[in-house]
């Protein structure tokens, strides 16, 4: 079973890298990009067979290590 974790900065936390990407897109002539938020995707290969239990486990991984919940939010997708 695979899990895909998406980690993004929380709403309201200034994303200086996303903002730099937005400006670079404008420089390249891509108009109308009003905001860019940059995050990360983490894919996990899991030995687990119980989907619900695995999802709970992955959320615990997010809380403990994969995301810093002071500034980041995360979502878990089981695939």
């Amino acid at each position: 079973m695979k899990a895909r974790v998406t980690v993004m900065l929380k709403t309201g936390v200034l994303d200086v890298q996303g903002e730099a990407v937005r400006r670079a897109l404008g420089t390249l002539g891509f108009e109308g990009v009003e905001a860019v938020r940059q995050g990360k995707v983490i894919e996990l290969d899991l030995a687990a067979t119980d989907r619900a239990a695995a999802e709970t486990e992955v959320k615990a991984m997010c809380e403990k290590l994969l995301a810093n919940t002071v500034i980041e939010k995360y979502s878990v997708e089981m695939v």
């Binding site: 936390v13 200034l14 200086v16 890298q17 730099a20 403990k64 290590l65 994969l66 810093n68 002071v70 500034i71």
Partner: protein, 222 residues
Amino acid sequence: MKAAVITFPGSNCDRDLAVAFERAGAEVVRVWHKDSALPAGVDVVGVPGGFSFGDYLRCGAIAAQSPIAAAVKAHADRGGYVLGICNGFQVLTEMRLLPGALMRNAGLKFICKVVELEVATTASDYTSGYQKGQRIAVPVAHHDGNYTVDAETLARLQGDDRVAFRYAANLNGSMADIAGVLSENRRVLGMMPHPERVVDQTHGGADGATLFASLIGKMALA
């Protein structure tokens, strides 16, 4: 007085931190991140700068989960002193020993230069040797020093006089120009600038020596 300096894979200021503690009169023991206990009788733990675990995932995130981290947390919970510098500050926020997070510098560049700091409080054993409002020159060398915290915690930090140092001029986007913060009991200090790099005039300045002398002196009295 006994100081423990931790080394993670990728630490590169551990030796300088050990020398700074030694020069201030402390006995220094070096501790490897895989150790699960601190040596007996340690008064202060130094978490050094560098690039622990290659800054993978987030700066300090993996070091904060290393075997020694639980012992450092227990030491702090017992009222022990912990000093985290640069990457060490990032580790302490990831361990939740200090509030907030260090994000990418607002200008996106790695900043490596001597900056002017303002001593924001003298009410700590780290800063009691300075004058309040004193300007000191201390080097910074970081890519992720943009101190970020929620508005409520920021108000509490300022209200409780827990900001130890501020950048005299906005440097990296840090909220309220915060360069270093104290824990609630004022015994854990995290700061991005490197006081251990200015403890001798041959370093080009010795403004950092006061911090170590003050801390070791206070612990000797305790």
